[in-house]
Structures are given as C-alpha cells and as structure tokens.
Symmetry: C2
Subunit: 311 residues, 2 copies
C-alpha cells in the first residue's frame, strides 16, 4: 500500500477518501481538512479567542492541538462532570495534555458545586445524558464569557454528527434539524458562536491522529453512554459506510450544504432571550440549567437532605 501523495509506504488507508497515507502526509491531510472547514465556515475570525471544550477524549484534544499549533488563541475548558473514576481520569488527561504543551486550561468541577451529573439526573428523573447536555451548554457558555472568548469550539466529529443527524431524521425532529449546523451564530448578541471544526473529520481519522501523535487520552466511553441510542445509529451508519465508503461524509456534508435549508423555517421564530437567574441564553424566563438546579434543590429539601459539605 503506497501513500497517495508521496508514493512512500502508507500507514493508513482511508476508504472514504479513496486514499492511503504515510504518517507525514496524513498529518498534513488531517490539519488541512480541519483548517479548511474553519475557513469555509468562517468559524473563527482574525483575533478572536476560542474556548475549546475538552473532555479528555481524542477528538477535543486533537482539535485543541491543531488550533494551538496553527496560532489560534485558545483557552481549554474542561467541565468535570462528577461521574466517578471516569471523570477523574478525564480531568487528569486534560491537565497532562495542557501542561505538556504549555496550554491554558480552565476547569469547572460540578461535584465541587454539589451538582454532579448523577445528582442532576436524579433530580430531573431523566437520563444522565440529558442532564449532562444541559449542564454543558450552561457552563460552556459561561466559561466563554468569563474568559473573553467569542467562539466556543467542540470536538464533535463526522461520526457524531452523522449519528445525530440520523437520530433527528428518524424522529423528524425538525427543530433540531434546523439547529444542527457546524457553525451556530450567537442566539443573542451577548453570547458566543458555536463551531464544530471536526464535523467532516471521521472518528477513524481523529483516532489515527491521536495514536500517531502519541496522545495519552481517555479511550473509554462515558459509562452513561453504554446502550445509548446514539451508539445504535453509529452502528447502523457503520454498516452503510462499510458497503459504500464515503456515505457518512456525503450524508453530513450534503445536509449542511443543501438539506439544512429546508428546515430553516422550523426554527425561524425562535430567538433566545436571557435567563433572569443566571444571565445565560434562554428560550424561557429561566433557562434549562437553572430550572434543573432548582429541581435538584427541591428534591433534596423534600428528602430532608442538607447540602453536602465536600463542595
């Protein structure tokens, strides 16, 4: 197997691109695709600081690395979710990654605020992933404002976006379809642009990049994700991709370029206001996170629980 670009011996075959690469050429290919996605989507304007949400997994660390290596002013932000050992390992991975590269990392610890994800999920009587998403939206927005960032970048990759797209289509969640974009403008002038520079970069590509660059990242999935329908959609899409390489790429790219426009009217009259409690974007008077936190306080009061002292 020869490298498609330099004819040297190839190390990695990417069937979706009908190409094979040696390590050096793959690095170039990978970075170029990420940078091109940023340029074409006008994801980051000159001089803007970028908050990179890092989980400790390969995708978000790869994104942070590429941005920092190419001169973007980044602040890494890790939200410690309080999901047992998994969260401890994730935080350590981020801290190690940042200190090895001299990058600025900020951490917010939900357990220290006594609102760990398992507690929020218990309060909401909902799946942990729903509570986790609500908390992330709140703290990511907050951290971006706190650290003077105009942009929030997340490491969602092509496989994530394809699975989410398929899930939204299977249920015809037209509101969600209208908002599933690689560049989401601020919902309100006070807030940040949200971007996904890896939306056309597959999990195989980020995993290969992380491996070849010797990242010490958290390989395990979040324990709450086991059995999540998202993984079923990924498996279904893997079947299609195996039979017809490149399918996920066309699916997501063509959605963004042509499909998404059809759903725009679905979200046309939804412009966010500001939560009267926390000042973050909200479609109601109180945002989802503040009502979740209030719910937790009520359930704790009802159980006669005092706030834990380890905060």
């Amino acid at each position: 197997m020869k490298c498609t670009r330099c004819r040297d011996s190839a190390e990695l075959k990417l069937r979706a691109h009908n190409a094979a690469f040696c390590r050096t050429c793959f690095f170039e290919f990978f970075e170029r695709r990420v940078l091109r996605a940023i340029e074409r989507g006008r994801m980051i304007e000159a001089g803007e600081r970028v908050l990179v949400a890092v989980s400790g997994g390969k995708d978000s660390l790869a994104l942070w690395d590429v941005l920092a290596r190419h001169g973007y002013a980044t602040v890494g932000f890790h939200l410690a979710l309080g999901i047992g050992e998994y969260s401890a390992r994730s935080r350590e991975a981020c801290q190690r990654f940042a200190s090895e590269r001299g990058l600025q990392l900020e951490v917010t610890d939900l357990r220290a605020q006594d609102i760990a994800v398992p507690d929020l999920a218990w309060a909401a009587r909902r799946p942990a992933c729903a509570a986790c998403g609500t908390a992330k939206r709140h703290f990511f927005d907050q951290a971006a404002l706190d650290h003077g960032c105009a942009v929030l970048a997340t490491g969602h990759n092509l496989d994530d976006e394809a699975a989410r797209l398929l899930g939204n289509l299977m249920h015809w969640q037209t509101d969600h379809l209208a908002r599933q974009r690689p560049v989401l403008p601020p919902p309100h002038p006070r807030f940040v642009r949200k971007v996904k520079p890896l939306f056309l970069t597959s999990e195989l590509e980020t995993a290969s990049w992380a491996f070849m660059r010797g990242y010490d990242y958290v390989v395990e999935e979040c324990p709450n994700a086991v059995g999540a329908t998202q993984l079923t959609y990924k498996a279904a899409l893997d079947k299609i991709e195996a039979a017809s390489p490149g399918s996920k790429l066309f699916f997501v790219r063509d959605f963004v370029e042509r499909g998404a426009a059809f759903f725009e009217k679905s979200a046309a009259d939804r412009s966010a206001g500001v939560c009267t409690s926390c000042g973050q974007p909200s479609f109601g008077e109180i945002c989802g996170f503040c009502s979740l936190r209030a719910q937790l306080e009520r359930r704790r009061a009802a159980r006669g629980e005092t706030r834990r002292a380890d905060g």
Copy 2:
C-alpha cells in the same frame, strides 16, 4: 404468549406494535391497518377501479387479496420482465393466484416485445434496476389507462419505504423526497393516482399474512437486487428497529405527516406533460421509457443486430 386482543394463545409477536396475536386477530389487525391507510389517505374513491401491480411476491399479492376481499374493483397487472427463470416463476405465481381466486389478471411480456430488462439495461449502460423502474412506470401507467383504472396500487411495504427514505436522505435527494408519498396525485389530468396502501405495514407482517393464508408466492429476491444498496439500507434500519422496535414505523409515518412538507418546494414547479411518442406522462418531450427504447434500437442497429424473432 397470549393474544393482545382475545387472550387466546398468540402465534405472532409484533414488537413494533408491542402486541401479539392469534391467527384470527392478526388477520383482522392486518386488514384493518391496510383499509385504514386507504381511508385516511383517500387512496381510492367510491366506484374507482384499481390496477394492482402484482410481481408474484408476498406484498403485492397480499394487497390484491385484501382489496378484492373488501369489494374493491381490481384488475391485477403483471409485467413480465424477461429476467430468466425468476420472471417465469413470478408470472406463474400471479396466474395461479388469480385463477384460484377468480380474479382478473392482465399480463404484458417485455420479452415478447423484444425489450426485456437485461436488454434495456445493456442499451442504457445502467444498472438493471434503473431500466426496470423506467419500464415499470411506463407499462403500469399504460395498463391503468387501457383497463379504465383511475388508481394504480403497488405493494411497497414499510420496509421498502423506510429503506427508500433513508437512501433519499443519505444523498439528500430533495426532489425524490418531495415525491415519496403514499398517495401521489396524477402528474397530469390524463393519468392515474398512485397509491401504496401497505406503506405502514412491515415486511414481517406481510410475510406472516402470506404464510398464514397459504399463499404460493415467489420467495426469492430478484437476482438483480443482490448487492443493491437498498438492501444495505434495510440492514441498517433492521439494526435500529431491533434496538428500538417501532422505529421504522415512526420514521416513515412522521415523514409523511410532518417531514415531507419541508421538501414540497423542491418539486413545486415540476408538472408533467405528455410524451409525444407514447402519450404517457413525461417531463420532457420524450419520456424516459421511449428514449430508453430508442437507445436500445440504436445500439442494436450499431451492432448490426436484427430484431429477435421470438417477439
């Protein structure tokens, strides 16, 4: 396992409906769903004759049977495709089914007209399934007119529609999405309404119905379908359905009820005219079938072939 309706011993479990049925109750359930789809979609008006396109497979025969048993004036129409032994067995199955039930069956034989599907595919240098679809559209429309039918009913089931929908979405074929409906009004006043009364009835249900009613139908897939991407989409959807029963039903039903409207503008200005050669619906001067037939004649002439004598 008990029957959900009568508490007798159940013979069939339908996870998508969270139900189990004895044979008698399943028959009622099956017929009611088909008849309700016809009513809700206003697929067939009182007094209209229905051309039922029958392939010899379980779905179209089940449809024909249900329509005839419930007093609809039907004409069965079988297009003999000229695909070797498969086509011979298919035609026999239709003829046997019709004569056992005293139903009117009309047959058009493509080989007799020297335009068998393999020849058309060779002429078009395209996959056989594309040529076959073009020929079917032409002869189904023609037969409906010839036999005084205002409606053409086909046996596409839920699994077919879900796979087609997924395929159209994977490639963002927004034109096709605009036209993927269980009831398609005539594209031109001279032509027929096209309906799919089984669009919410799964393959498991039609197969169970055909088995329980003792149909002698063609079980094999068309040999040209082997390896078709349609089957990959079906397998992917089967994975999702297994993890979350009812997914295909929601996917197709919600598309029809909510999703499809988003794509309407994509096909808004496409109204068909009439082919100047055959008089069938056409979006150009000559319809797809007539230009395919002309292509075959040209390729045969170029090869110095005379028309075969077995026509």
